[in-house]
Amino acid sequence: MAECHPVGFQWVMEAKARGAKVFHIDPRFTRTSAMADHYVPIRAGSDIVLLGALINHVLAGEHDFREYVLAYTNASVLVSEDFRDTEDLDGLFSGFDPETRTYDPASWAYQGVEEEAASGQSGERVEGGRHHAEAARADQYGSGGAAAHPRPHTDETLSHPRCVYQVLKRHFARYTPEMVEQVCGITAEDFNRLAEAVVAGSGRERTTAWVYSVGWTQHTVGVQYIRAASILQLLLGNMGRPGGGILALRGHACIQGSTDIPTLFNILPGYLPMPHAHQNRTLDQYLERAAGDTGFWGNKRSYMVSLLKSWWGDAATEDNDFCYGYLPRLTGDHGTYATVLGQIDGIVKGYFVVGENPAVGSSGGRTQRLGLANLDWLVVRDMTLVETATFWKDGPEIETGEMRPEDIATEVFFLPAAGHVEKEGTFTQTQRLLQWREKAVEPPGDCRSDLWFYYHLGKRIRQRIGDDEIDRPLRDLTWDYPEHGESGEPSAEAVLREINGTGPDGRALSSYLELKPDGSTRCGCWIYCGVYADEVNQAARRKPGREQSLVAPEWGWAWPLNRRILYNRASADPEGRPWSERKAYIWWDAEKGEWTGLDVPDFERDKPPGYRPPPGATAQAALSGTDAFVMQADGKGWLFAPAGLADGPLPAHYEPHESPLPNIMYGRRGNPARKVYNRSESPYNPPASPRFPYVLTTYRLTEHHTAGGMSRTLPYLAELQPEMFCEVSPELARERGLVNGGWATIVTSRAAIEARVLVSERMRPLRLQGRTLHQVGVPYHWGWAGGGVVTGDAANDLTPIVLDPNVYIQESKASTCDIRAGRRPTGRALLDLIEEYRRE
C-alpha cells in the first residue's frame, strides 16, 4: 500500500500512531513492510491456505463473534443434501462437468430450494446458476450476488451437520499452521502471531480491516482470495462496522468509477447485468434472471427502466419494452483476452484503446501485439505516444524479424488526450467516494477530453447515418449536452445530472428509492442517484474534515446515498444497540422510531429491529429488521455462497496454473474451472518444470504508473527508477551467478527479457516441502519506446494468459520462470533461446 497508494497510506500511519497493529503479508519486503509492525513473507499464489488457516483458527477455537454470526450471516442455514465438498471429492465440489470445465451450482443451493423449483416457482434460483456458469458469467448477478431463498431452513444451534457453520468447519479443517508452513512458507511462529492479533483485534470493542491491492485479484483463484477474506471478516464480525471491512485498493484514480459506470463488457451501469442474446430476449425475461426478487435488487425493474429512459428518452415507452431491444447483447466471453485472440483469428476488426497500453500492460505482450497487427483499424487515445500506437514500427517482433512494418495492414489513429487537470469531472475512488475536480488549464493543441471525444464521435456518426432501421437506436439516443468553449466541450455537470436522474417534473432526483418501473423517472446509474440531489453537484462539496464529524459526510459524495460504510446496520446488535460505545456507528432510536447515527443508515430508516416480513413480500419488504446485508436476496452475509460463483461455494487452495510445486492440499493441481487458452502464440510453462524452477511475480513501484505512459515520459519520475530491473535474493544470485547492478535474462515459454539486477536480502528464499524456493520480482513499468526518456523490456511479455473464471483477470502475480546471468540475445537468436526453453 505504501508502494502503490502512498497518499492513502498516510491513514495507516495515522492508525499506527494511535496504536493499530499493522501486518504486511507479501512475497517481497516492500516499503509497506518497512513501516509494518510485522512482515510476513509468503509464496505468491498460496494466500487461500493462509486465510483458510485463519478461518480454521477462528472456528476451531470458537473465536467467532457468535451473536453477529447468528444474526447477520448464513451460518445457520442448511445446505442441500446433494452438496459435496472438496473433502468428499478430493478437490472438486459437486456439480463439476469435466467436458466443459464448468460447475452446475444446483447442488450448492440451500435446502428446500429444490422443492420450490419443482413446483415451478422462482426458476432463477436453480436454473439461473447453471446458465450463468455455462459461459462463466457469474458476474451476471451484478453486485447483488445470486438469488437465494429469503427464508431458508436453519439450525440456530449451529450443530446440524449440513448447516453452513459445520460445512465450513469440515471444509477448513485441513487448513492448519503446518499446511501454512508447507504451502505458503510462513513459519508457525509468524502464523500464530498473526492469528492471535486478528482474533484479539476483533469483537465488540475492536475491529480489524483487511486491505488488498489489485495484486490479490491477479490469480486464477483471485475472486476466492477475496471470498476467503470475507468469510474471515464475517466470522469475526468485522463487516459493516467502523474500522472493519475488506478494502480493495484499486489500481487507478477512477477504476472504481469505471466499474460503476462500466467499461466492462458484461455489466451495465450500476452493476445491472448485460443482456444475453439468447437468454434475455425481452425485458421480462431479462429481469427474471437478473438477481433476486427480494432485497434491494428486487427493485431491478425500476433501475433498468430508468436507465433505458435515460438513454432513449421519449422513444422509450412501455409498448416497446422501453427500447430494451436496442441494447447490445452478449453471445459469450467478450473479455479483453478473448477479444485479442479474436483479433488474431480475424474476427475482431477494429479496436479502441483509451488510456491503456496493452502492448506493454497486459499479460502475454506478444499475443497483444499479434492481435493489434491483424486489425483493420486501431484508435489509440493517450497523452503520450504509447507502445500500443507504435508497435508496428518499433515493437520487439520487428526487432526479431517476426513482423515487418510493410506487412502490417492495421491503420492506426493516434488521438491526443487531455490529462486529468485539463478537464472537469469526477473521480470515484476506492471508498465509492465521488470527488469533483475542476479544469485547471486548457488542454494543449488537439488534445481533448474523453467526454469530448465520445460526444463528438457520437454526433458525427449520427449526422452520417441514414434512415436504416438498424441505426434507429443511434437516432433515438438522447445526445444533447450543452457545449462550451471553442472546442465545443460538453458539460460534464450535465452528464453527472443525467446520471443522477430526473423525476416526472424534470427535477433532479435525490434517492434511488424514488425510481419508478413505469417509465416516469430517468436515471443513468441507479447507485449514483442523489449525487445531484437538490440540483446541487454534491460531489463538489469540500467542507474540511475539521469542520464536521469524523465521518465527514460533506466531503464529496459516496454511493449509495452518501453512505460511507456499506451494510452499516451490522454496526448495531440485532436489537439495534451499538455493539459497544467504542464502536458505536448506527443505532435504532426507539423514541423517534428510526435508525440514526454518524453515517447514513444502510437500512430503511423506519424499519424497526423487530420487523418480520409477511409471506410473499418482495424487494426490501422481504427483509427482516435484522437482515443487515440488504443487497442480498436473503439479507445475510454469505459464509457459503449457494450460487453466483463459477468455481465453488467456498474457497479452496489450488496451485497457480504455473507452479513449481504440487498441490499437497488436494488431488487437483489448479483451479478446475480456470479459463485456459491453449494457443501457440502464448504457450504455458509445464507444471513443476525443472526448466522454470522459480516463482515469478510482477508489481508496481511508487515512482512509476502502470505501463509507464504517464511516468516514463516525465524526467522527474523516470530518473527515480530509470531502468527495468529484477529483484533477487543473495542466495538466488549465488545460485545463478547474478551480480548486483549487472544484467539478467528472465525466460518463460512466452518471452525472454533482460533486466538490471538488484540483489537484496529483502527477497527471502522460502523453505517449504523440503526444499528452498526462490521468487523473482519484476516491476512492469517499462517498454521499448512510448516516447519515454527511459526504456526497458516489458515484464508482461513473460506472463501467461490464464484467467480467473469469475472475472477473467489474468494470473500475472504467480507464474514460473528461469533466470540467467547476462543480457538477452537479440534478433533471431532471441527466438531460438525461447524455442530452446519450450522444447525441453
Binding site: 505504501a2 523516470a718 530491473f725
Partner: protein, 248 residues
C-alpha cells in the same frame, strides 16, 4: 527578522515515496539529474547536489529498510555563507540560507566549505545551487513544496522552536515504545554548526545515512586563524628587522 523557520524530518515515518524530490524539482524548476541505475537499493538519486535538493536515502539492514529524506541543513553557522565573496549567499528573514542565482559568479568557494557536502555547482552554468527552503513560497505564506507533498508528515515545516518541541515529544514516544535506536540529529545548538535549521529524527547512527556524526563549520577557526596570522606576520616582521638591522 521573523522567527526562525525550519524543517523537522522524522525518518521513522518516511515511506520512501520520493514525493519530496519530485515536488521540489517541480516547484523550483530544478533539472533532472541523469538517468542512472545505481543498484543501491531503491536510491537512484545518489546524493544531494546542484540538481537534487531533496534526496531520499534507502538503507537496507538485515531487519529493516531505512528511508530518510536529506536536505540542506540551513546551519546556524553557515560556512557557505561565510566564504561567499559576492554576497550571492545570504541569510533570509526566515533565518534560512539562500543562494541568489543572479548574483552567484560560480567561484565555487562554498562547495568545499559545506561540512555536509550539500551545495554544489551545476556543470553547465557553473553556478552554485541548493535548497532555498522554498524562499519564494515562504514569502507567499506557503510551506515548502517538499513538506506540502509529504503524505505521512515525515517532513514537517514550521517555526524551529515548535518543531524542536514536537521532535522531543516524538522521540520520547518512540523511546517509550522500545525504539531506543531513535535519536535526533542537528537539533543541538551546541554542535559544530550551532545547530541546524533542518534537523532530523534518525533510526540509526548518522553515518548509516551518510551524514557526518560531528559536523563542524569549516570557518570555525577563521577568527583564531586571523589572530595566528597576525602573530605570524609580526614575528616575520621582527625577524626581517633583525636580519636587516640586528646583524650589523
Amino acid at each position: 527578522m521573523s522567527e526562525r523557520m525550519g524543517f523537522f524530518t522524522d525518518t521513522s515515518v518516511c515511506i520512501g515515496c520520493k514525493a519530496c524530490e519530485v515536488a521540489c524539482k517541480e516547484w523550483n524548476g530544478v533539472p533532472d539529474d541523469g538517468f542512472v541505475f545505481r543498484a543501491t537499493s531503491y536510491d537512484n538519486t545518489g546524493s544531494l547536489g546542484a540538481s537534487t535538493w531533496r534526496h531520499v536515502a534507502f538503507i537496507e539492514t538485515p531487519d529493516s529498510w531505512l528511508m530518510a529524506s536529506d536536505v540542506c541543513k540551513h546551519c546556524t553557522h553557515a560556512a557557505c555563507l561565510d566564504v561567499c565573496p559576492t554576497g550571492a549567499l545570504f541569510r533570509t528573514e526566515f533565518d534560512t540560507v539562500v543562494v541568489q542565482a543572479d548574483v552567484c559568479n560560480g567561484c565555487g568557494y562554498c562547495v568545499p566549505a559545506c561540512p555536509y557536502g550539500v551545495i554544489d555547482r551545476r556543470e553547465d552554468d557553473g553556478r552554485a545551487w541548493k535548497c532555498t527552503m522554498c524562499y519564494d513560497r515562504q514569502l507567499g505564506g506557503l510551506e515548502p513544496a517538499c513538506a506540502k507533498a509529504c503524505p505521512t508528515d515525515s517532513i514537517q515545516f514550521g517555526p524551529l522552536d515548535e518543531l524542536l518541541e514536537r521532535a522531543d515529544a516524538r522521540l520520547a514516544d518512540l523511546h517509550a515504545n522500545g525504539r531506543t535506536e531513535a535519536r535526533l540529529y542537528g537539533e543541538d545548538p551546541g554542535d559544530g554548526v550551532g545547530g541546524d535549521g533542518a534537523f532530523f529524527l534518525l533510526m540509526a547512527e548518522p553515518e548509516v545515512y551518510g551524514l557526518p556524526p560531528d559536523p563542524v563549520v569549516t570557518t570555525r577557526d577563521l577568527p583564531s586563524m586571523w589572530g595566528w596570522a597576525a602573530v605570524a606576520a609580526l614575528t616575520m616582521a621582527g625577524a626581517t628587522a633583525w636580519t636587516r638591522f640586528g646583524g650589523r
